[in-house]
Amino acid sequence: MAEIRIEGVEKTFGSFTALHSIDLTIRDREFMVLLGASGCGKTTLLRIVAGLETAGKGEVWIGDRRVDHLPPRARGIAMVFQNYAVFPHLTVYENIAFGLRMKKLPQAEVDRRVRSKAELMHIEMLLKRYSGELSGGQRQRVAVARALAMEPEVILMDEPLSNLDALLRLEMRAELKHVLAESRTTTIYVTHDQVEAMSLADRIAVMNAGRIVQADDPVQVYRNPAARFVGSFIGNPPMNFLPASRTEGGWRVAGQTVPGPASGKDRIDFAIRPEDLILADGGLPATVRVVEPLGPHTLITAEVDGAPFRAVLDSDLRVAPGDRITLAPNPDRIRWFDPETQDALT
């Protein structure tokens, strides 16, 4: 059992607050992704859990042990670093065996674990090599095998795929998901890549400016962003936003009346994902600016109410720049945000 509880963790660097009182619980065997732009504090949070950074305030629990005062070696974690951190003076075999030798395990057990993890990561033919003789992808595999060989309660991954080229990243992503699911460890995985986050995570914690904005399963995060930031950060192209003002029987958005939440405010934000729009009468009037056919669908950048507005339409539809069209939002998928607090309204 290795549930990770982060309670009120704060971190400052000089006058800069990197983390504002973070509370997060990662369930046993859960794959949690910390997602955010660079500088949002996700790596700092991971390093605090690892013990490589000390929190200014707050507690970190792994299982039923409070670990924030323990050194990394006593926390029952293993970590995979962005630049792999494969020891250059040791062979692949000795790299994977490194932590096991520190634990003073018998040689037979070391050998068994090294070989099984090497096989799992498909590097059994590289065991005698040094890291200088390996490609980036192979080094990444060694780093993961080394972490798995520890058979830790918790695996922490700091952007492990970001140094690989695109094709390799795709391959490793699927493999990591499989291997980590098999290993049944609790995982915290840091990335700035939303596709990686969506495809790997049981839950995503979206971070912004040292705060967790939303922690939920990937589809929830995508469909029901808790804050405007989440909607604009996740999804490519991101969510469209338009100002809405109170009117009789709903909210006025780009000249159209749309039913919406009962808010005390006079002005709120209307939001819709580009793929939740169709070309239909009675929708939002738009002027097409750019048409990008992408094969399965066509991406349209239009102007609605003077603001850029994107729609993903069927690629059979013939639209050209300059066309005046009306885009009808799927009423179930419309979301509303408070323009001041940026929070979702229901």
């Binding site: 690892a50 050194p71 670093f81 951190a85 520890m150």
Partner: protein
């Protein structure tokens, strides 16, 4: 029109530029090599040939001068003193310099920049200025004319280099390697021994050799602070006006050759000191 002239002028300019470049290289090589050549030719010639002129391009490989030098009274002792002082200097410089280099590369502490500056500043004080007060202090504490006393002064001279070389050395070792070792069950000291030290060892050895050479070559402090226990440099300086020419050349060669060999062996780490990558 202008374009054509420029195009025609270019090869000329480039050709003369190349000549200046080559001449510069030749001059620099001569600057370094001619004294070494003179030293070698004279040291490896018979005592009678040394005073002769013109010189031969190739020495006669007569070991008369060298044999005479090594049998000269006091030379063996001076040589042994030199080795001892240099060895103690080496230990002191690395023992104090490597931890300082590690601290500079891994930790942020108040006054770090000032400390780095001060490390270099120690070389700004001319030794003659310090020699007299040092000599007085050494006599009072009984450190004068001892191996350790001189090694202390030499260690002061060698320390800035030891700190800077090891600093760049440790900085070249990614901190993630240490962090990975910590997460894999190492304490901080253990991670240093298991991961950092094996990677840094060749460079630390180079830095030690450099400290050795600095002490080996140092003459001023050695001459001022020792009387009975002269190092080779101090001994040669002392007997400079009374010894025959071939003795001086043989002594010079005996001093220069080890230093040259050592420095050549560790040259790539010395470049690292100036921030040129050592990989």
């Amino acid at each position: 029109m202008t374009g054509a002239t420029t195009a025609a002028a270019m090869p000329d300019v480039r050709r003369s530029g190349r000549w200046v470049f080559r001449a510069g290289i030749a001059l620099l090589c001569a600057w370094v090599l001619v004294p070494i050549w003179l030293l070698m030719v004279n040291a490896l010639s018979a005592p009678a040939e040394v005073a002769g002129f013109p010189k031969r391009l190739w020495p006669s490989f007569d070991l008369g001068s060298l044999t005479f030098f090594f049998r000269f009274r006091g030379v063996a002792e001076a040589l042994w003193n030199s080795v001892q002082v240099a060895a103690v200097t080496m230990v002191l410089a690395i023992g104090l310099g490597a931890p300082a280099g590690y601290a500079l590369s891994r930790f942020d502490f108040p006054g770090k920049e000032a400390f780095r500056f001060l490390v270099i500043m120690t070389r700004a004080f001319p030794l003659p200025l310090l020699a007299l007060p040092l000599a007085v202090m050494f006599i009072r504490t009984g450190l004068d004319d001892t191996i350790v006393g001189l090694a202390l002064v030499h260690a002061t001279l060698a320390l800035p280099f030891a700190v800077l070389i090891t600093y760049s050395l440790f900085s070249g070792i990614p901190v993630e390697l240490e962090e990975a070792a910590w997460t894999l069950g190492c304490s901080r000291p253990k991670a240093f021994v298991k991961v950092v030290l094996p990677l840094a060892l060749p460079g630390i050895a180079a830095s030690a050799v450099f400290a050795f050479v600095i002490s080996w070559n140092e003459v001023f402090a050695a001459a001022v602070l020792t009387i009975q226990n002269r190092t080779l440099t101090a001994f040669l300086l002392q007997s400079l006006d009374v010894s025959p020419l071939h003795l001086k050349f043989a002594g010079g060669a005996a001093l220069v050759i080890p230093a040259l060999v050592f420095i050549f062996a560790v040259r790539k780490y010395l470049f690292a000191m100036w921030g040129i990558a050592n990989r």
